[in-house]
Symmetry: C2
Subunit: 380 residues, 2 copies
């Protein structure tokens, strides 16, 4: 078979797994599973949601059945508000009805919501059966599907209930992004830019080069960027995530750098009420604010901050947020999971491709960054 | 501090943990946690049930608070019928209300039901926080609390929902058994005899020696056996379980030998309706039946089978079961989780202290063993 795709390995000591990236891979899912050691005849429960099922369910099903897998598909409403233990229970019911055994498999076909729920259901069925992640949003491809974090929401907070459960395989077929709403695509680009800033100068340069063509939109859609750049940024992002995960599987330390842009991002996301901002949009804003803080602290240059800002703009992401009461934001920061002993932890850029973690950011500096962000036009 | 207790280590590569066994340890729980690296001031959620809370809750609380832990106790009804996702949700609610963090701790204070549920809740809160098992039934001390199997029941079957989540510490204080109903004590003895048969001839001999004093009851209660033998059998049983778990953490192979007596035991337990037999009682019967099968297959001697039978009798366990339709039993066996590709897997003794795993047991042999078991007096 010609090498029509790239393989990136998540090098865990216990059970390393491949991330496959390439156009048209979805229809060959079954043969990749066979290569990975699953046997023809294995029972598979595909978990997906109505949109994704409508666009891509048939291809996934054919891709599995043509290799002899015994497939049942569970189609669930999978909005963030449905990411609950009740939905996990529905997946467990389907696992029981489809008589999944320890050697069986759950395939998560969808965005991060489907991936997190199906992954958690797999983690907790028969004390853990295999899961394969087939992400269909850009965000899930570059982030959620890789690294084994699974879970659902508790009334008290997002992702409070969950488990680490690494997938056996991640299959990324950029072609499924054809049907993804552009706003979702842009939100995913925020995480791509994140990987560039925290550790991949080459990726940053690639994105910058494309952005120069159209500073307001060259990175804002699959069409605008074209298949080569898309393939490249998927590879670089997946590799970045894989590296961090391999170095810190259980989020002991290094993995914290993945929270770049997320400290203020989360606060604003929460304060605005879920649904106002997409996660990636809030992260885009959070990165700009973190960049301003880093400039104020003398950690990185205004020139680099301007470069970052141009990338965020070229991805069509919002460049400013409504004026929020800074005291309210500071209080929200304190309530965040990333707080240790009352100190707010910020990931701050020190150059293109490098960051540092600081818990000594002066509240006044945070206020100033908030004021700058609020002074920008909000184009949503 | 004088060495007034024994420590057995579960030698897992990733995170080995101690099992502490000794009279009066419960009141010193906090200091053992400090020794294990937990910090004074850590938030602790104790999960228990009304009986255990009534008898031992105060001592556990004092034991924790005197070392500076910040404790909240959740008292739950914890019958097998309450071992459900709904109860896990209640534990999660308490975890949230008590503001448990990644560094916090859940203490399971109770029998296997509490241990399995609290362990699973810990496994799935914030993607896994620490759990400490403080078993208060004999069965939980020698079996359920050690090895990291946690979970709850699904309407379709027992323990279908769960996770592997090893405790940070297992604290066994035989003194809490003073309040345990004797029938529960005897049920636990079945698992002790199991360890003796599958791998500990010395333990078998110790039990046998005691049994000679009173073949109908010397092993049937804490009082009858006395504290020295109790301490010894707790140590040997915990060590046996620890060895098997260390060799096969995720139940890939060796751990199957722990199912000695469980193949027919489970079938009879299920067919009689839950609640008719305690698990250990069914296991006692299952071991006798497995012994008969092994004799019939020429795997072990009638003399050894008689020795095993005497131990089961001395533990005051039922020695026979009602005549069940053998076809119904055989069908139930097929439905059991221990079936692989339609073959029923039996753990069969080949001597005192050794077993073999066989999936080629002739149905006629199983029928014969069932008939023998049914011909015995059922004294319940
Ligand atoms: N596990 C992790 O490490 C991790 C990391 C980041 C985010 N997450 C989680 O991921 C979730 C967000 O994921 P998301 O951004 O993918 O959102 P999502 O899963 O909600 O999907 C966004 C929308 O896109 C639709 N969609 C998905 N694929 C499509 C396609 N190919 N064509 C058309 N429509 C499609 C979905 O139906 C949905 O309406 C959050 O719950 C977040 O907590 C998890
Ligand atoms: N995780 C494992 O590896 C594993 C192994 C074996 C069994 N189990 C599970 O364990 C459960 C059975 O556990 P169990 O036999 O301990 O039963 P249990 O937890 O139901 O306890 C039995 C009864 O004893 C009472 N009790 C407990 N300690 C007491 C004490 N010190 N004084 C007075 N009363 C006390 C309880 O309130 C309960 O009524 C089952 O759900 C089974 O699936 C798990
Ligand atoms: Zn993110
Ligand atoms: Zn048992």
């Amino acid at each position: 078979m010609p090498q029509d795709h790239r393989t990136i390995t998540v090098s865990l000591t216990a059970d390393p797994y491949p991330i496959l990236i390439g156009e048209g891979l979805l229809g060959r899912l079954g043969s990749f599973l066979i290569e990975r050691g699953f046997q023809s005849g294995t029972r598979v429960l595909v978990v997906t949601n109505p949109e994704v099922q409508g666009f891509h369910g048939a291809e996934a099903l054919t891709g599995l059945e043509s290799s002899g897998f015994v497939v049942r598909t569970l189609v669930l409403e999978a909005g963030e508000e449905r990411k609950t233990p009740a939905t996990v229970a529905a997946i467990h019911d389907a696992a029981f009805a489809h008589r999944l055994e320890r050697s069986s498999l759950i395939v998560a076909l969808g965005g991060g919501v489907v991936g997190d729920m199906a992954g958690f259901a797999a983690a907790t069925w028969l004390r853990g059966i295999a899961v394969v992640q087939v992400p269909t949003t850009l965000l899930a491809m570059v982030d959620a599907a890789i690294g084994g974090k699974t879970g659902v929401n508790h009334p008290g907070g997002k992702n409070l209930i969950g488990a680490f459960h690494q997938p056996k395989l991640v299959l990324i077929d950029p072609r499924v992004l054809v049907t993804l709403p552009e706003r979702e695509f842009r939100a995913g680009m925020a995480e791509v830019i994140k990987y560039a800033v925290i550790g991949d100068e080459q990726l940053f340069n690639d994105l910058e080069q494309a952005a120069e063509r159209d500073p307001r939109g060259a990175l804002a859609s699959r069409e605008a960027m074209g298949p080569e750049l898309l393939q490249r940024l998927l590879e670089r992002s997946a590799a970045a995530k894989a590296r961090v995960v391999a170095a810190d599987e259980r989020e002991g330390g290094l993995r914290a750098i993945l929270n770049y842009g997320h400290t203020l991002g989360h606060a604003v996301e929460n304060l605005s009420g879920y649904g106002t901002w997409l996660h990636g949009e809030a992260v885009g804003l959070g990165m700009i604010a973190a960049g301003d803080i880093a400039v104020a602290m003398g950690l990185w240059s205004q020139a680099d901050q301007d470069r970052q800002r141009r990338l965020v703009a070229a991805a069509g992401l919002p460049m400013g947020w409504p004026a929020l009461d800074p005291d309210v934001v500071l209080t929200a920061l304190q309530a965040d999971k990333k707080v240790r002993q009352g100190k707010v932890r910020f990931v701050l850029p020190t150059g293109v491709g490098s960051v540092t973690i600081r818990d000594d950011v002066d509240p006044a500096t945070i206020r100033a960054a908030l004021a700058v962000a609020a002074s920008n036009v909000v184009f949503r």
